[in-house]
């Protein structure tokens, strides 16, 4: 593979530059889709995501919710006959989609934001804070309310966050990554 491909502006080139993986190695056998637990809920199946990446169709990929449904269970990667690593490529597509300012499904975006905010704030994730933050973002106040009391009684939900000493380092990590993403997103 020529080094120039990474810089040819194609989606396959961007994936290659970010992951070292070769989207062209996918021969569309569909074994990823065949074993994907979420395939039936995806409008674009895993092999179709790879196909669209091959033909540089980023709008269709980024406008669709499907890439956000991947659970990264790695079944596709473990069974891919040609070493393509679809799970890693889909992760990369999600990151590129975010940089292209494409928006993930609202609730999934809210979850990821809440989760990462917890880490940035406390260094660790506290489910109570996580769920509260998530509910604020989604306005989905009644989801899972039935589960919470049971969890509280059983000591499953910690109410108060406990900080870590190295929080400065964690925040520096976040700052570095945010800066890198802005730079690469252009």
């Amino acid at each position: 593979m020529s080094e120039h491909e990474s810089f040819d502006g194609s989606l396959a080139g961007e994936v290659r530059a970010a992951t070292g993986l070769n989207v062209s190695a996918c021969y569309q056998c569909g074994k990823c889709t065949a074993g994907c637990p979420m395939a039936e809920e995806m409008s674009l199946k895993p092999h179709q995501m790879l196909r669209l990446a091959q033909v540089d169709s980023r709008e269709r990929l980024f406008e669709d919710d499907s890439i956000w449904l991947c659970l990264t269970c790695e079944t596709c990667t473990a069974r891919c006959p040609n070493g393509v690593d679809p799970a890693r490529i889909i992760d990369c597509l999600r990151e590129l989609a975010l940089r292209a300012k494409a928006s993930p499904p609202r609730r999934i975006a809210a979850f990821h934001r809440s989760f990462l905010e917890q880490i940035r704030e406390n260094g660790r994730v506290f489910e109570f804070g996580l769920v509260a933050n998530y509910k604020m973002r989604t306005g989905d106040l009644f989801a899972d309310v039935t589960a919470a009391p049971g969890m509280l009684v059983r000591g499953k939900l910690a109410l108060l966050p406990k900080g870590i000493e190295g929080i400065g380092e964690v925040r520096r990590i976040f700052a570095t990554c945010a800066q890198a993403a802005r730079k690469e997103g252009r």
Binding site: P37, L71, A87, H112, V125, F126, A180
Partner: protein, 294 residues
């Protein structure tokens, strides 16, 4: 044997019983855990699905901490934490530029020398010890060992057991006196990553797993991941249809602890949403005849 211990967020909260049962079996099995000081979240799903560098760095911070604390091997009982730490280690080892970047941000001399171990890798070599110590054991309790996604996959990262036909968890519970059943969905994903944001998907996936385990004759599900546990225990009632029997979900460490004859209280068995009372009665005295009757 002293081992670095990375509990991760779950074992300090929703899955406290995983932590407790792990510590409970450590004495009888002769290992000692040294919790990593000042550890931070591995980044989990949200980091790697949105920002690869963030995912690597959040995990690497913990590996670097371990290194600076003189720990050579870190055991992460949570399958997701294990996967994130092991993936970061693997990627840094295979990508020199990434390694340099990590060192720049962490401002240290990080050599990526810490090995990452799963709970399966910790317990499998102890099967003979478990067998010796488990007197009455689990009395032939029929269990479905559920590996889920990240304990073994991808094989290049996990580097443990046969990724498509594993046997380590079965060996461990067998040593504790259980009878592992043969079933099909033990490697399928339960969908925990979408547990909060897309609950309907998770209910569909979890239901298929529970159905398959029950059809194979399992009396309990054994898991080694707090996400799987939360999903299959907390959400089980939503997964079942009216009148369907509940299936207790045990952490592997709880199953081993029960087999070793530890008190259910020590193992945190009362903390589950799906009651474990009948199961505890089944494996304490008189359980054998109950097994035959079933």
């Amino acid at each position: 044997m002293k081992l670095g211990y990375f509990p991760g967020c779950s074992l300090h909260a929703t899955a406290r019983e995983f932590d407790r049962s792990l510590k409970a079996i450590a004495g009888p099995l002769g290992f000692e855990l040294e919790e990593l000081e000042d550890w931070s979240c591995c980044g989990a799903t949200s980091a790697h699905q949105t920002n690869h560098l963030l995912a690597v760095l959040l995990a690497a911070r913990n590996l670097a901490l371990a290194e600076s604390q003189g720990i050579r091997q870190v055991m992460a009982p949570c399958a997701a934490c294990f996967s994130r730490l092991a993936t970061a280690r693997h990627e840094i080892a295979h990508d020199e530029a990434l390694g340099t970047r990590v060192n720049e941000v962490l401002r240290g001399e990080f050599a990526n020398s810490v090995e990452v171990q799963s709970i399966l890798a910790l317990l499998r070599p102890m099967t003979s010890k478990i067998q010796e110590s488990a007197k009455a054991g689990l009395r032939g309790l029929k269990v479905a060992c559920y590996y889920g996604c990240l304990l073994l996959r991808p094989p290049e990262v996990a580097q443990f057991d046969d990724v498509e036909a594993p046997s380590s968890m079965e060996q461990i519970v067998e040593a504790a006196g259980a009878r592992p059943v043969k079933w099909g969905k033990r490697l399928d994903c339960c969908g925990a990553g979408l547990s909060i944001s897309r609950t309907a998907s998770v209910v569909r996936l979890g239901r298929a797993i529970l159905e398959d385990a029950r059809a194979a004759g399992a009396e309990a599900l054994v898991v080694a991941c707090p996400m799987c546990h939360t999903n299959l225990d907390l959400r089980q009632k939503a997964m079942l249809q009216r009148g369907e029997a509940q299936l207790p979900v045990l952490f592997l460490t709880q199953a081993v602890g029960l087999g070793l004859g530890l008190e259910p209280g020590e193992l945190g068995l009362a903390r589950h949403i799906i009651s474990t009372k009948a199961l505890i009665a089944r494996v304490s005295s008189g359980g054998e005849s109950a097994a035959q009757a079933s």
